[in-house]
Amino acid sequence: MNLLWVVLLPLIGTLVPLLTERFGRNVCAFSVALLPAWSLILVLMHVGEIFDGEAIRQTIEWIPSMGLDLSFRLDGLSLLFLLLILGIGLLIILYARYYLSDKDSMGQFYAYLILFMSAMVGIVISNNMIQLWMFWELTSISSFLLISFWSHKPDARKGARMALTVTGTGGLALLAGLLLLGNIVGSYDLDTVLASGDLIRAHAAYPIALVLVLLGAFTKSAQFPFHFWLPHAMAAPTPVSAYLHSATMVKAGIFLLCRFYPALAGTDLWFMIVSLTGLITLLLGAYIALFKHDLKGLLAYSTISHLGLITLLLGLNSDLAAVAAVFHIINHATFKASLFMAAGIIDHETGSRDMRKLNGLMKYMPHTATLAIVAALSMAGVPLLNGFLSKEMFFAETLDQSMLGSLSWMIPLLATVGAAFSVAYSLRFIHDVFFNGEPIDLPKTPHEPPRYMKVPVEILVALCLAVGIFPAYLVGDLLHAAAFSVLANDVPMHSLSIWHGFNIPLFMSFLAMVGGITIYYNRRHLFEFQAQFNEPDAKYIFEGAVQSLIKFTQRIMATLENGSLQRYVFLMLLFTLVMSAYPLFELTQNAGSRPQLPIDGVAITAALLLIISAIATVIWHRRRFLSLIYLSVVGLIVSLAFAKFSAPDLALTQLSVEIVTIILLLLALYFLPQSTQKESSNRRLSIDLTVSALIGCVIGTICFAMLTTPLNSISDFFIANSKTGGGGTNVVNVILVDFRGFDTLGEITVLGIAALGIFKLIAKMRIYVPTRDDKGRPWTKDRHPLMLAMVSQSLLPLALLVSVYIFLRGHNLPGGGFIAGLITSVAIIQQYVANGVLWIKPRIKVDYQWLIASGILMATATGLGSWIFDKPFLSTWFDHFHLPWVGEFELASAMIFDLGVYLTVVGAVLLILANLGKLTTSERVDNKENV
């Protein structure tokens, strides 16, 4: 069986509603149900094997080189949850068909719902912890989308944000916990982790891992103190609440507890945290639920309380308690989902969820009322219904523990109190809504819903009854299989029958019933008592916390990042100084053993020129044009130095980059002030000077030490392999297109993105265009001097020829696509300068964006091409050919790659420079006068 399909089918199904939405509501709902139903059938086909105690596993290689596999496992626990997720999911699809109004986008709703369903399915059948976590996060995100489905309502937005924040934070904690577990065990494989429970529990990091995993589970399952998000998530459409907040999402935390039960449970720490959290949540939820006037609010707190009950059971460290917990998962899902749906029907048909207005609905909707009453009785734990059975087991288990020592008797007592409140709020739900006089000014006259809207409720209520009467026959096997995988060993004897004779649990049930009725009967006093407290709204507290967190981080940001570039550079250099100067103290001698080159007159001259012009650039930095000229001298001398010290490739690149940079700066300078005021104080200047001088000394020392020390650099490898492996004698170029081809591909991609970004930034930018130069003289009228135009035009073919030459020989001699691209773009820019945009427009009809794209595509395709020949990405192929007249020549796939580099460079440079230049074309006043 293909377990992958169980999760893949719903995932594909996410797209179905978007496609079928236009064919009407029935078709849409029906088509949406198909794939999950198929998935459910796939699961059901293997029920027999699972009941025999087998677990089905499947592993699919995903990225074998990194040891990442898709790994699935279907055991009893997964089966139970899959039945809940897919079964109730299908009912919800039918229910939502009638619930959603015409104004809601049905396709969108179903798509979110099915996405959520797939994520849940993924969680329960994952056999790898990281994979499980990924699906876990997907449920957080898709539930955010579902809760905020009515995004025009502020409540929905706030509730969704709160749910996402709480469950997302928990998800991060869970990830940390899972990584820690993986680290302890040495594997992320769930089978391995679950089998090494003893190792984990004995490990020093166990408490940390346990707390982290529990944080994940408790936030998801709305356990105290993280329970506050669940009531606010009730802003979601009711089908979402019925699905997420009764049967599935909140049960994901419980699932996690069950799943990791064999690995993490059994210690005192587990008992203390899990059972006490569960107990507090149980009591708190049951108590608050009674006071909620909102129908869904009552159900939400009741859900919190029941989740607490399950958590408490799992925390008791007893096998029978775990069985009871699993049983209650089934029962709670059935009665709570049906109650939520009933609440949705009531809301839908009356227009209100306020129990102070909703009264006596028995008369108006007897059918729905009967169903809801049966479900609510099950929630209260009345005999002959499934809620009764698991509650009895729960009572029995609370009696059968002694973990709190002499205080252990408190647990059964508190459990009975919780159950009494549970009876009380169930009674309130039944009595307030369906009896208790007449409705009070409802927006709509209540009536029965459409026939099929009740079907899902009927099915679930029938299940409540059937399980309540024939428990062993209906769910015995399933429960046994699920409990088997929770406990990871033999399931203890348990009896699934209604009557166990007169015993203490029965007496506790009776007490809870009587207590509940008493509480409800005296509810007015309780309500008055509760009204004295000013109940804090979790929404405000939460928002306040978020806002103060934002303010806090903003303060940190403002201190660290105040927008002053001088300060960033200052701090960065200071830090560099500290980091690099320290090791230099250790270095006693900086001159190494390498012989120093002789000094000649040319070197001295060049050094002199370099130093003087560099200093001049700094001194006259406020006179910008002058500074730019000095900067050009610096660039020129640096290129000369590259040429002199045997780096012709670098010299060529430096020269061409130099020119492009000067043109770019000149283009920008036009829009900027020609000179700047003195802005820094003298104190500031002296500090900056000190720091930069120190940096200069440190870097100089490092350079000197590096250059004089004989080192084995990696260049020997490249020199040795360049010809044999890459087919070229120019090592620099072979490194660029072959050894480090992947880097180059990344770099040209970045270049292309940067060019597009600049293009986007300067498009339609309106900037100040000076009409006179800095001395106040008007610009010359001669826009395109004839001499310049003619010389430039005759330069173009020459420059193109040079760039072709540089490109072609690049593999073996200095040159290559990058330099050739720069030369070509400079030559074209010269045409722009000499003849203007309007002259170029009809002559060069190349779209520069397109040029960039095709360049990158060409380089990528060259890389991908090696896959066809079963070689790794970007393997080079080359061979030598002979042609008459031409002689012998070499062809290499790296040349196509280099061509891609060439095209990208040309496109990027021209896109930036030409568009920066074009900004003024339509703006200039004197242009319009002249034309």
């Binding site: 007159g601 012709p648 060529l652 040079v802 722009y832 230049g917």
Partner: protein, 89 residues
């Protein structure tokens, strides 16, 4: 003989480079400075060619070619900037 000639030529080119820089500083007008820079480009070409002859390799000639071609573009761009402010219009 050739070595002597190269040494003399290199010395002269170096002196003229320094003089170029002096002119660049002195100005006084912007065209003076641009012209000084342009002359520096030309002297650099000479220097590279001389270096190539001295070491007997043609590897550096492309650098000279590029300076010749791109130096012109740079000078033209700066002149255009003085005249019109806007390079590309």
């Amino acid at each position: 003989m050739l070595n002597t000639a190269i040494t003399i030529a290199t010395t002269l080119v170096c002196i003229s480079l320094i003089l170029n820089l002096w002119r660049l500083f002195k100005g006084p007008s912007r065209p003076d400075r641009i012209l000084a820079l342009d002359t520096m480009y030309i002297n650099s070409i000479a220097l590279i060619i001389l270096f190539g002859i001295a070491s007997g390799t043609a590897l550096y000639f492309e650098a000279a070619l590029l300076i010749a071609m791109l130096g012109f573009v740079s000078t033209a761009a700066m002149c255009k900037y003085i005249l019109r402010g806007d390079l590309i219009e």
